[in-house]
Structures are given as structure tokens and as C-alpha cells.
């Protein structure tokens, strides 16, 4: 079954899929959108707009990294946006109480790791399905956020840190805002981890055939637990970036963001069933949704249309790879039947 093999394995018969994988296609689409935008829309390719457009995807991009690892391993974490909100609310209430920002950041990260630990513990030790667990904690963490901060909105965070997160402050000599620069570094690390190490291969193994992975000596539960902890940690860090970037800590920050993250990862060709996908594809997916939204907004396209475009792209991303492999399979069968 070619459909169950990781992308790295060669298919028996060459088809379109051999030459053009979906994640590459998304990368090409990304470049096409960029070029189309540059030639059609004033100000799209300006450094100011690129900084703003990139920075608008900062939290989505950051959370998408551990999410890609999770989905490759056949898991999913829907609680990330709520954890972002909880971290933001925690930062807000501590800041309001007069604590130093340098203290608040580790406290929030600790809370994120703890939240991830709870997810991981429920999935690996209690044995509940990740979808059910994280739908539960999605509600739980958002509720906690409201308990921590109530209906307040805390503002007035220190300029030095807000500047760091804003799109007007960029890495000297480039148009890259700092959160995106940090994302780039983390993305390279995550790509190396996923595609060049034994740990990375074990994630594909868990996602493709968990039992087989276990019999092969992979410490399935421990790895899954670690992934959830990292996911919670990154979500809480994204919460700090979000709070600084918008200069406003609120319990409802990032409401619904988990779906954008997962949509981006799936758009990048990572299979929701696990065992397939590349980190580069996921990053391309995040950037494609971000740039496309920016381009459509610049052209005054109504929000409804933007949502429809994203939805259609998402369906295409699930459909296209399957259609290609179905075609290949049919051809294989025909070849096998021939004398």
C-alpha cells in the first residue's frame, strides 16, 4: 500500500506523485502567490508589508512546529490556543500585580509545560485518545484563563519587550521581525530533528504503526509525552509573543487559533492519520495561508471569500495527494494484471 509508506520510500511505479510531492507543490504555490502579489499589488512586496504579514503568522508558525511533530506521530493537540490564552492571562495578572516581566516569562513557560504534561499524561498513561483529551483541555485551559484574569485586559507591557515582538523592529539589515527570526532558527532545529535523526524516524514509525514501533523498541509513550510537553511549552511561549505583539493580555487571546495551526500543517501535506509529511511542507503551509490572507486583504477582498479560499485549499491538500496515490495504485494493479 503506497499510501501507508512514508514519503521517503520510492513508489513501485513512477507517477506524478514521484516527481511532485504535495509539500513541494505547496512550496511552489507559495512562490507563485508571492510573485503574483508582487506584480499585481502595490506595496505587497514592500519590506514594511512583508514584516507585518510575516509577524502576523508568528504564533501560528511557532505552534505549528511541535504540532507537525505531533501529527506525524499520529497525535494532535487542540488545546494549544487555549494554552496561549492561559499564558497570556497569567502574564497579564502577574504583570498587573507588579511582578517583573523577567519572572513572568519562566512562570508562563512552566505553566505551559505543566499543561502539556497533563495532556501527555492523559494520553499515554490513562490511554485516552488525544483528540478527546485535548478537546477537554481546550475548554479547561480557556476556562482557567478566564479565572486568572476575568474580563480584564491588561496593557502597558515594557517597551523593550513589546518592541522585540512588533513588526516595526526587525533584525538589522533585514525585514525579518524577531519572533519570525526565532521561528526560523527553531524550524531548522525541528527539521533536523524530524528528518535527520533516529528520533525523527521513530516519530514516523509511531505515526504509521504504533504497535510495530513499540515492538521495534521505540519508547512510544515517553516520546509522545515529550511531544505534548513541548507543544504546551511552545503554546505558552506563543502566548507571551501574542501578548507583547498586541500589547494586551486577555483571557480570550488567540481564540480559535488551534484550527488555523492545524489547517496550516495539513495544508503543508502532513497526513492527519500520521506517519507522513515534512516539516518544510508545514512551514510552507503556514506561510502560504499568511501571505494569501495578506494579499487578499490588500486587494480589499471580503473576509468571507478569504475564508472560502483557505477552506478550498485545505480540501485540495487532503484530496490531491490521495488522488495521486489512487491513480498510481490503479496503474500498479493494471501492470500486475498484465502478463
Amino acid at each position: 500500500m503506497p499510501a501507508d509508506q512514508p514519503y521517503r520510500l520510492r513508489r513501485p511505479v513512477k507517477s506524478l506523485g514521484t516527481y511532485l510531492r504535495w509539500d513541494t507543490a505547496v512550496g511552489i504555490l507559495l512562490i507563485a502567490v508571492f510573485l503574483a502579489g508582487t506584480s499585481s499589488t502595490d506595496g505587497f512586496a514592500s519590506t514594511g508589508n512583508m514584516s507585518a504579514a510575516l509577524n502576523d503568522t508568528a504564533e501560528i508558525a511557532l505552534i505549528a512546529l511541535p504540532m507537525t511533530l505531533l501529527v506525524v506521530a499520529g497525535q494532535v493537540d487542540l488545546s494549544v490556543a487555549s494554552m496561549l490564552g492561559l499564558s497570556s492571562a497569567l502574564a497579564g495578572s502577574l504583570w498587573d500585580a507588579g511582578y517583573a516581566f523577567e519572572l513572568i516569562v519562566p512562570v508562563c513557560l512552566l505553566a505551559g509545560a505543566a499543561g502539556g504534561l497533563l495532556n501527555g499524561w492523559l494520553v499515554t498513561r490513562v490511554g485516552l485518545p488525544p483528540l478527546a483529551v485535548t478537546i477537554g483541555t481546550l475548554t479547561l485551559y480557556r476556562g482557567l484563563a478566564s479565572v486568572v484574569l476575568g474580563d480584564k485586559a491588561v496593557a502597558g507591557f515594557p517597551d523593550t519587550y513589546s518592541q522585540w515582538a512588533s513588526s516595526t523592529e526587525t533584525v538589522p539589515g533585514t525585514f525579518v521581525p524577531y519572533p519570525i527570526a526565532l521561528f526560523a532558527v527553531l524550524a531548522v532545529l525541528a527539521a533536523v530533528l524530524l528528518h535527520m535523526t533516529g528520533f525523527g524516524r521513530s516519530l514516523y514509525a509511531i505515526g504509521a504503526q504504533e504497535d510495530a514501533a513499540w515492538f521495534a523498541g521505540i519508547r512510544v509513550k515517553r516520546i509522545k509525552l515529550a511531544l505534548f510537553v513541548v507543544s504546551g511549552l511552545m503554546a505558552s511561549f506563543a502566548g507571551i509573543v501574542y501578548t507583547l505583539r498586541y500589547g494586551s493580555a486577555r483571557a480570550d487571546n488567540g481564540l480559535g487559533l488551534e484550527l488555523v495551526v492545524i489547517a496550516s500543517v495539513l495544508l503543508g501535506g502532513v497526513d492527519f492519520n500520521g506517519g507522513k509529511g515534512t516539516l518544510g511542507g508545514a512551514v510552507a503551509g503556514v506561510l502560504l495561508i499568511g501571505l494569501l490572507n495578506n494579499l487578499l486583504t490588500l486587494n480589499d477582498v471580503a473576509n468571507e471569500i478569504r475564508v472560502i479560499v483557505t477552506g478550498l485549499l485545505l480540501i485540495a491538500s487532503v484530496l490531491a495527494p490521495r488522488a495521486v496515490s489512487a491513480l498510481a495504485e490503479r496503474r500498479n494493479r493494471r501492470l500486475a494484471a498484465a502478463p
Binding site: D96, V107, A155, Y246, G247, S248, T297
Partner: protein, 357 residues
């Protein structure tokens, strides 16, 4: 065992680190506040400057499918045609602060002359609005204000104090100053609703309201279905409830719809801020006796003229400056760059058919 002790050690190390970070003097709220400096604008106004032709004006509402803000923005766009400006409405379909930010960024790229914004969060939109002002794009807040240093003007539909207090006064009249009341608001962070509610609570402290009690502030999130359910919940949870104030057009319409089809019709008084077209049916069938609102068309109209006056250099947003707002006449900029539209209109069975919005 080995694992457990390792975990313990790691936790201890993290705690120590956290404590150390706290002990050394970090950046706290007080430091940040003392760092903030007053920005002084050195621009001068020329009250005789004519309104410029061909100005590009953008309205950025809280969300585009909010019927109230659609009326405001359409009236503003129509007003812009009076002085040959090119106006448009753009905005998110959800009332989230973060969604407005990317719109502001794109409006800056499009080099608009003025942005009119109804802020979903007073601070979250600040950064990009400041960037806009640095690039000589004029910023006017309307309906819901931003932080004061992030815009040049705020067009206030009516003084917040008057709106808050008058809603308590009116429902108290209807209830003979007796009984439990509740408030059905928009989102928990809505700037204007929260200000009004503070004034309502303050008004209720007066002796004439000693027999009235505010039992609950519920939040319908300006979502029809949620507001409907919250109304249902309020009436179930507080059987003694006599009145509901809903200071949001989405909330009052949903509440009226629930009450009109329930046993509470005629038993529970509903008052608040609504639009005549949404409420006409409920006035006619007796669910609601009266509600109030300023004329949103005038709000959009005034907003457009104020933005044009700023962009043409007639005013800079300083207290005491005056400008002409077409058919509405002359307006004066008040304290903190506020321009007040006027007192709200009360709609009831007698006058509702005179209004169509």
C-alpha cells in the same frame, strides 16, 4: 526511582532559577509606567483650510457583519461623497482585536489618508495605529475608543456617563424603582459596554434605587445565539427578575426574541440600545415598550467629516478646535480629543415608524 529523583532535581533547579530571576530586579509595571512619556503634537491647525478633494478614507468596524456598524459605515461612505472622497469599509468577520491589526497594517500599505476605527480592544490596535500616524495617516476612533495616544479624535456617540445613567433611569421608571434587574452585555472586554455598565452600577447606588438590585451581568458576546441562550439562562436562574438592560443591539434583539415567545412576555421589562428596524416587531407586539439609541447615520456622517477635517489640516485633534460637519453643523473638539455627537433618541410605539435603520 532514578527517574523520579531526576524529575525532582529538574523541578528544583527550575524553581531556583525562577526565584533568582525574581530576586534580581527585573522590569516591573512601575518601571514601564515611568518610562512612558507624554507625546506632544507640534502640528498646527489651519481652520480656514478647505476640505481636500480625493481623500482616501477607510472605515474599520469591529466586525463587518454587525448591522449597527454597517449603518454607521454606509452613512460615513455617503457623507464622504459630499466632499469627493473615496471611502470604503473593510474589516474582520469576528470581533477580535487581533483581526483588526492585520487590517490596519494593510490600510497603511494602501496609503489611506484617514482610518476610522471602532476598536475591539483599546490597546491591541495601538502599535499599528501609531505606525499609521507616523506616516501621516489620520486616525479617528468611533463607537469604541482606543487608548488616547493611539488616535487623534474619538467620535463619541453620546457621553458614556449619560448613556449609562439614563438606561438605569428609564428602566427604573418602568419598574417603579423596584425589583431585581440584570444586564445582558456584549463581550467581556467591550470598551464602551463596560464603561456604560460602570456608570449604571454607580447610578444604582443612589437612594432612589434602594429597592432595585443588579443581580447579574451576562455576556452574549454580540452573538445572536449566545445572547438568546444567556437571556433564557438569566430568566431561569433568577425567577424574581423584573427587568433586563441590554446595552447592545445584538443582545437586545436576541433577548426580545426569546421573551416574545415565552411566558415572560409582559412580565419582564426589556430596555437598552437597539435599532428601530430590528426592534419594530417587538415594539408592535408589546414585548418591549421602549429602547434608545443615537442615530448611527449621524455618527458615521460626523466621523467622515471629522476625518476629512483632520486630513485637510483644519484641525489637529487639540481641545477647543472647531470644524463644520456638513448638515450637522459645527462641532468642537473636547478634552482628550473627544467629539460628542449628542443625546440619544428614545424609540417607542409613537415614533418608531419615523425611523428606518
Amino acid at each position: 526511582m532514578r527517574n523520579k529523583s531526576r524529575t525532582l532535581a529538574a523541578t528544583a533547579a527550575l524553581c531556583a532559577l525562577t526565584l533568582a530571576a525574581g530576586a534580581c530586579s527585573g522590569t516591573t509595571k512601575d518601571d514601564a509606567e515611568s518610562d512612558a512619556k507624554e507625546q506632544v503634537s507640534d502640528a498646527t491647525a489651519n481652520p480656514d483650510a478647505p476640505l481636500k478633494k480625493g481623500l482616501k478614507i477607510a472605515f474599520l468596524p469591529k466586525q463587518i457583519n454587525n448591522p449597527y456598524e454597517q449603518i454607521v459605515d454606509e452613512a460615513g461612505i455617503e457623507a464622504s461623497a459630499e466632499f469627493d472622497a473615496e471611502a470604503k469599509e473593510v474589516g474582520p468577520s469576528d470581533a477580535k482585536a487581533s483581526s483588526q491589526v492585520s487590517y490596519i497594517n494593510t490600510l497603511v500599505q494602501q496609503r489611506q489618508d484617514a482610518i476610522l476605527i471602532a476598536a475591539n480592544d483599546p490597546n491591541a490596535v495601538c502599535g499599528p495605529l501609531k505606525t499609521a500616524m507616523q506616516q501621516d495617516i489620520k486616525v479617528v476612533a468611533y463607537d469604541s475608543d482606543t487608548a488616547k495616544d493611539c488616535r487623534q479624535l474619538f467620535i463619541n456617540q453620546a457621553s458614556s456617563e449619560e448613556i449609562g445613567r439614563s438606561q438605569v433611569r428609564r428602566i427604573a421608571e418602568q419598574l417603579d424603582h423596584k425589583g431585581e434587574i440584570a444586564i445582558l452585555s456584549a463581550t467581556q472586554n467591550a470598551t464602551n459596554q463596560n464603561t456604560w455598565i460602570d456608570y449604571m452600577k454607580d447610578e444604582l447606588k443612589k437612594p432612589e434605587y434602594k429597592d432595585m438590585e443588579l443581580v447579574k451581568v451576562a455576556y452574549g458576546d454580540d452573538d445572536d445565539q449566545k445572547s438568546f441562550q444567556e437571556t433564557q439562562g438569566l430568566l431561569k436562574a433568577y425567577p424574581e427578575l423584573k427587568g433586563i438592560i441590554s446595552p447592545t443591539t445584538v443582545g437586545i434583539a436576541a433577548a426580545a426574541r426569546y421573551i416574545s415567545s415565552s411566558d415572560y412576555k409582559g412580565e419582564v421589562v426589556l430596555n437598552g440600545l437597539g435599532t428601530p428596524n430590528q426592534m419594530r416587531k417587538f415594539i408592535k407586539d408589546g414585548t418591549v415598550e421602549e429602547f434608545s439609541l443615537w442615530d448611527p447615520k449621524d455618527l458615521g456622517y460626523l466621523g467622515a467629516y471629522a476625518a476629512a477635517a483632520l486630513a485637510s489640516g483644519q484641525i489637529t485633534g487639540k481641545e477647543g478646535e472647531t470644524f463644520e460637519a456638513g448638515r450637522l453643523g459645527e462641532y468642537t473638539v473636547g478634552k482628550d480629543g473627544e467629539v460628542i455627537l449628542g443625546p440619544p433618541t428614545v424609540f417607542d410605539e409613537k415614533n418608531i415608524d419615523e425611523y428606518d435603520f
